[in-house]
């Protein structure tokens, strides 16, 4: 079975290899503030230099909080059939929080403080038959087993 070609929903957000994603952003060269996705300037008001360089982030973080979406997003996302999905706000070791889709986890299994890792998730299939993907979070392998 041949695998569909994968294309990112948006260029520049993340890189991926198989099912492992790495987020790409920026880091201030003078005050070390992190930004996702990439920015043009540092916005820390205490930072005078404001110059940023490309940066990547840890591939793991902890659930700050989550929700479970029971309604489909407006077009252009035509999910047929629509399956309710989780969205998590994740605390990253860099002191930032990132919002993303949750995959590989049921509502009853997600917990605040749980360890997650970055993966990819298929959003939809485009007209050319490609899988359009985005980054997503899934339970970190060694901590996911718990209840299952």
């Amino acid at each position: 079975m041949s695998k569909a070609h994968q294309v990112p929903a948006l260029e520049g957000l993340f890189t991926w290899s198989n099912d492992e994603a790495t987020l790409t952003g920026s880091k201030c060269i003078s005050c070390n503030s992190y930004y996702f996705p990439r920015v043009w300037n540092c916005r820390n008001p205490e930072c005078k230099e404001k110059k940023v360089e490309p940066a990547t982030f840890s591939r793991q973080g902890k659930v700050y909080s989550y929700t479970w979406m029971h309604y489909p997003s407006p077009p252009p996302f035509n999910w047929e059939p629509f399956i309710p999905f989780g969205i998590v706000l994740v605390e990253m070791p860099e002191g930032i929080r990132i919002l993303g889709r949750l995959t590989g986890c049921k509502l009853e299994d997600i917990k605040i403080g749980m360890d997650l890792e970055l993966t990819i998730d298929k959003l939809y299939e485009d007209k050319q038959g490609n899988d359009v993907i985005t980054y997503a979070f899934r339970p970190l392998k060694q901590s996911a087993g718990g209840k299952k």
């Binding site: 029971h70 919002l99 993303g100």
Partner: protein
């Protein structure tokens, strides 16, 4: 700088008015405000008008020049303020400065809006579909519609303070019970807590009756100088304080539509609300202890219990107790949204900050539309609104 007073308030009922054009909603709100102030169009020196700007285009709301072209084309100056849900409060702030500076003596602040149906949609053109467009980014990265941010907050609060789904349902129950006394509001049915808990789940733990819908709506205010107020009314209401703010770096509060919060060191949570409110207090020369009631922007039932804490009225986690013990009710210690708020009005985003100030004004004048809705001790009222992307406005009126 001169003191500024509210001389009149008016609104069009909020709801869905498919047969009626936006302009007519705006004009009726203006006419009601002018009737309340016993004024005519020829008395109005300028109009401050509210609209929003999302991802290009004009967004929603009513532009001032169009309004004058439709009802009173006399060449007067207009100021179009463009923002999101906080624009009404921001327009009141700007209007106050226009009078305080001595430039004008009487003016109108107006907002009218017919937003699109359902969850606020993607409005981007192909050219806007880039990584630098924060409102496009949230859809293709996290597929995140507005209410998910509130669901995330509501869930976090349950973990931190033990808030339950029943508490959130009770907050919504109170808003609709208050709205049942407000003929301008849209969702005026009194629900039981059970009915709310049985309504469809949208973004767990928040249900459809715990989230604000979108509505058509319009509201208008007449502001004037002290000299005009003395001449024209025996019940002057002082625009005691206005404050406007944007977020502060380090604030980790997740705000629509950002998928990311940055912090070098953690700063104040919901900083734009905190800063706008501090600025309004500083101008009014008062503090939380002087406020008799609040109109706050309840996009969800989470806001009703959480925001009074963020704004310094309560200790963190105390909102649940206040709600459970009836202290947020119309005759409680700290009445929250005697109007029924936006869970009941629904959102006409650009007009929200104006209808809030109308509601403060009606309470302070003893003009609440029904006797049961009138707060007995209403001397100072405060309203607060928050706009998509991070804008906040706080308004304080004083009898």
């Amino acid at each position: 700088m001169r003191d500024v007073y509210v001389l009149g308030a008016g609104a069009h009922p909020w709801g869905k008015f498919q047969e009626k054009p936006l302009m007519q909603l705006a004009i009726e709100a203006c006419n009601n405000a002018m009737a309340d102030a016993s004024l005519e169009w020829s008395d109005i020196q300028t109009v401050v008008s509210c609209s929003s700007h999302f991802s290009g285009g004009w967004g929603w709301g009513q532009q001032g020049p169009e309004l004058l072209k439709a009802i009173h084309e006399n060449g007067m100056p207009v100021y179009n303020i463009v923002d999101a849900c906080a624009v009404g409060g921001e327009a009141v702030n700007v209007a106050q400065l226009l009078i305080a500076s001595g430039q004008y003596d009487i003016l109108m602040v107006i907002a009218a809006e017919k937003p699109p149906e359902g969850m606020l949609p993607l409005t981007h053109t192909d050219a806007e579909r880039t990584i630098d467009n924060i409102d496009y980014l949230r859809w293709v990265s996290a597929t995140a519609a507005n209410p998910i941010w509130w669901g995330i907050e509501a869930r976090r609060r349950m973990e931190e303070y033990g808030t339950t789904e029943i508490t959130y349902a009770k907050a919504s129950e109170l808003m609709h019970r208050n709205a049942s006394l407000n003929p301008l509001s849209r969702f005026r049915k009194v629900f039981t807590v059970e009915e709310i808990l049985n309504s469809a789940m949208v973004c767990d733990p928040l249900r459809v009756y715990e989230l604000c819908a979108v509505s058509d709506g319009a509201a208008a205010l007449i502001l004037c100088s002290e000299e005009e107020a003395r001449k024209r009314t025996t019940k002057p209401i002082l625009l005691a304080g206005t404050g406007v703010a944007t977020p502060q770096f380090g604030d980790l509060w997740p705000r629509v539509p950002y998928i990311f919060t940055a912090a070098k060191k953690p700063g104040p949570y919901l900083s734009e609300i905190v800063l706008a409110t501090e600025r309004a207090y500083a101008m009014a020369g008062i503090g939380t202890e002087d406020i008799d009631f609040l109109e706050l922007q309840d996009n969800s039932s989470w806001h009703v219990v959480a925001w009074p804490e963020v704004m310094g009225f309560l200790e963190p986690g105390q909102g649940d107790w206040m709600l459970e013990h009836g202290e947020f009710e119309i005759n409680g210690k700290l009445p929250i949204n005697p109007s029924g708020g936006f869970l009941s009005y629904g959102e006409a985003t650009t007009a929200q900050g104006i209808i809030q100030v109308c509601d403060l004004y009606w309470q302070l004048r003893g003009q609440a539309q029904t006797k049961e809705r009138q707060i007995e001790k209403a001397n100072v009222g405060l309203s607060v609104s928050l706009g998509l992307g991070g804008y906040a406005a706080t308004i304080i009126l004083k009898k």
